[in-house]
Symmetry: C2
Subunit: 412 residues, 2 copies
């Protein structure tokens, strides 16, 4: 090892970590975990509104499938996942009028891996994707992993996070534009795209020969009676669509890490399969549980749905009643973006964990700065997940109200 012998401070030369690793953002959802751990060590109760980890019980059918596992070896599974699971999933999609079969489906280690493999397979370094923002932060992380560039089209809280005008997309189109990414229903905004908006996206995809990456993980969670429109419902772009899904998220079993990448594009699947083979196989036990979970009784799904309807109303009302706070009513998923009377959401969220408590409690939220590409955006916004029961949400709302009264960076 070469030792640079600067007087009193010998520095050992080490290889440098990658630039990719440097520019990769920390997750706005998880980066404050060390602070919340410390708060808990101090005996403070932390309400976790930062992460989409619902408190809803995993279906009994999932546990039963796990306990029933009768194998002598917990072996590798096929790189694209068990055929039986893919068949059942295809059948599930048919229920949403999505016409795919088991060969169009590749099982992934969580929905996250579907995003990662799609980007690695479709995007070269320097390629660009257009993403309406605020957007789920990990898209950017995976784009950076692939060396691709996120070109944001910013939607605003004032417009309820509706799709920005088509012209805003067209302004960003370059020869390097390879795709558009949408999340519908949207994480973090809860926005649900209308038929007219989806048609506009379809027309862009057609006109410029783009991939349409469509994250539809939250399809079961649409609250307004407005229809959920899948990218696969759009005519004439069958081969352009790459759908991301999560089974584990849908059935409150986030930990089993089972998602799917769905596409009719054979070239994309061929490429994705190479990445699948390199990581050998998705989790075995997770797949068994996921397959069983697709049969979760309708009553469970309905009860969960009703619970979210209640929580949503309760949280939105509660937030909007706090002086200086505004959030539009989310139409789907289980998140909302709220505007707060604060100087800086990163500082505020860290302060809540480090320096604040109200009756031994505090609140953890995700600063929205991490959901935008351009620096300086989302500084007065936070993502709030309504994944706790109403009693907990009620307490969290009180804590938030009290915090906003005393936060040194308050702007009201």
């Amino acid at each position: 090892m070469q030792i640079s012998t600067t007087a009193l401070n010998p520095i050992i030369e080490m290889p440098q970590t990658s630039n990719r690793g440097h520019i990769m953002p920390e997750s706005p959802i998880r980066k404050l975990v060390p602070l919340s751990d410390k708060a808990k060590e101090r005996g403070i109760k932390v309400y976790h509104l930062n992460i989409g980890q619902p408190d809803v019980k995993t279906p009994t059918i999932a546990f039963e499938a796990m306990k029933k596992i009768d194998r002598s070896i917990l072996e590798y599974s096929p790189s694209n996942g068990f055929k039986s699971l893919r068949k059942k999933l295809a059948n599930y999609y048919h229920g949403f009028n999505i016409d795919v079969n088991e060969n169009d489906i590749i099982i992934t280690t969580g929905g996250s891996e579907a995003v990662n493999f799609a980007f690695m397979s479709c995007l070269d370094p320097g390629d660009e994707i257009i993403v309406p923002e605020p957007a789920y932060a990990n898209y950017t992380a995976f784009a950076i992993g692939a060396g691709a560039i996120v070109k944001p089209v910013v939607s605003t809280i004032e417009e309820g996070f509706a799709l920005p005008p088509v012209e805003k997309f067209e302004e960003l189109i370059t020869p390097r534009t390879k795709g558009i990414l949408i999340c519908n229903p949207n994480n973090p905004t809860g926005y649900l795209y209308t038929q007219s908006e989806m048609n506009k996206i379809r027309d862009l995809v057609k006109k410029y020969d783009l991939y349409l990456f469509s994250d539809e993980v939250y399809r079961e969670f649409c609250y307004t009676g407005a229809p959920y429109i899948s990218a696969f419902h759009l005519e004439g772009i069958d081969e352009n669509v790459i759908l991301f899904d999560s089974v584990s998220k849908r059935y409150n079993e986030c930990g089993i890490r089972i998602g799917a990448l769905v596409t009719k594009n054979v070239e994309v699947r061929k490429s994705v399969m190479k990445f699948c083979q390199a990581r050998l196989s998705p989790p075995l036990i997770g797949q068994i549980i996921a397959e069983a979970s697709i049969d979760t009784p309708k009553s469970y799904m309905l009860e969960m749905y009703n619970e979210y309807v209640e929580r949503r109303k309760f949280l939105i009302d509660g937030l909007n009643r706090i002086p200086g706070v505004y959030t539009p009513i989310p139409m789907g998923a289980f998140y909302t973006v709220a505007k707060l009377p604060i100087d800086d959401s990163d500082k505020f969220c860290a302060w809540l964990l480090n320096d604040f408590e109200y009756e031994g409690q505090t609140v953890m939220m995700a600063p929205c700065s991490g959901f935008y590409t351009e620096k300086g955006q989302g500084k007065d916004e936070v993502r709030v997940a309504y994944v706790l029961e109403k009693e907990e949400l009620a307490k969290a709302l009180v804590v938030l109200k009290k915090a906003l009264e005393v936060y040194p960076g308050r702007t009201l």
Copy 2:
């Protein structure tokens, strides 16, 4: 969509998949699966010597841990894995005189993810790593994923796959060289590096300020009495070492997908953690099983070890008795590379599945072409995994002998 209206053949313009996806190799271990599936459909018994999926039963303690899971929600876990698992794993490493603690360990989704995250965190596009070959094919896949370049140093079957001379490494060093990757005991060759060889690697790492990526997944499987030398045993390069490990492989539970990345390099860990956060968390149930499995009784480990000793002797003797076949005696892991009297291992391995059977049986092996970077190498070599019991190996050897007698591309 722009339709190019060439006379009778209208071509719909589609975006191109990534160059990365094009140049990425298919797994030599898994790419023939469609052919073996078809052979099975024709009623043919296929002996799987292609994949490191042992037939050894998963420890009872693993199943017990799974059945005992008493949670109401299968939730996300920490991005770096459960602390209790990391602590136990640190303790396991202490048994091998590897001085690490739980903070040096990051739990990954299989050993594969450890390789992937290490490369993504340490290597930028155009960066180079030097790898003794033949080498586990998926290193190349992950290197391509990171845009990095594998510079091979070829070891030969004639020399028993010993480490090539240091000069061969030094010839390849450029300003873009970031690391050396070793696998010890080696997959696919079964070679175990000596103290003297490891010292040479250490000196190279020191002299040129490199990372040492060390895959030590097979440390429990060393058969000759020669010591297993971990990269962490080498003096003066503590911060340069990035160790890859697999818990699921060690305890015959490949399907649970639990591995680890171990490094004392804080900068590397910081970068790796960003990739960990982006994929949220490693499998929950897998972690619970892995943690329990570390307590697998010594008697199980010893029985498994003895079984592999027997299989190894049996397979190597059997292979070397087939006319024109040669394999050195592997010192560790459960693979060997055999030289066969054939024109092309890819053709031969496909032919075995497509066109050959002996008494309703055939053999599946991994063509070694996929374990070398340079085209044309490994054409007369296959990787054979001794993961089946002796009775099965005996039958597989007969089938292989018969096949080599009639294969149209035989060279004997």
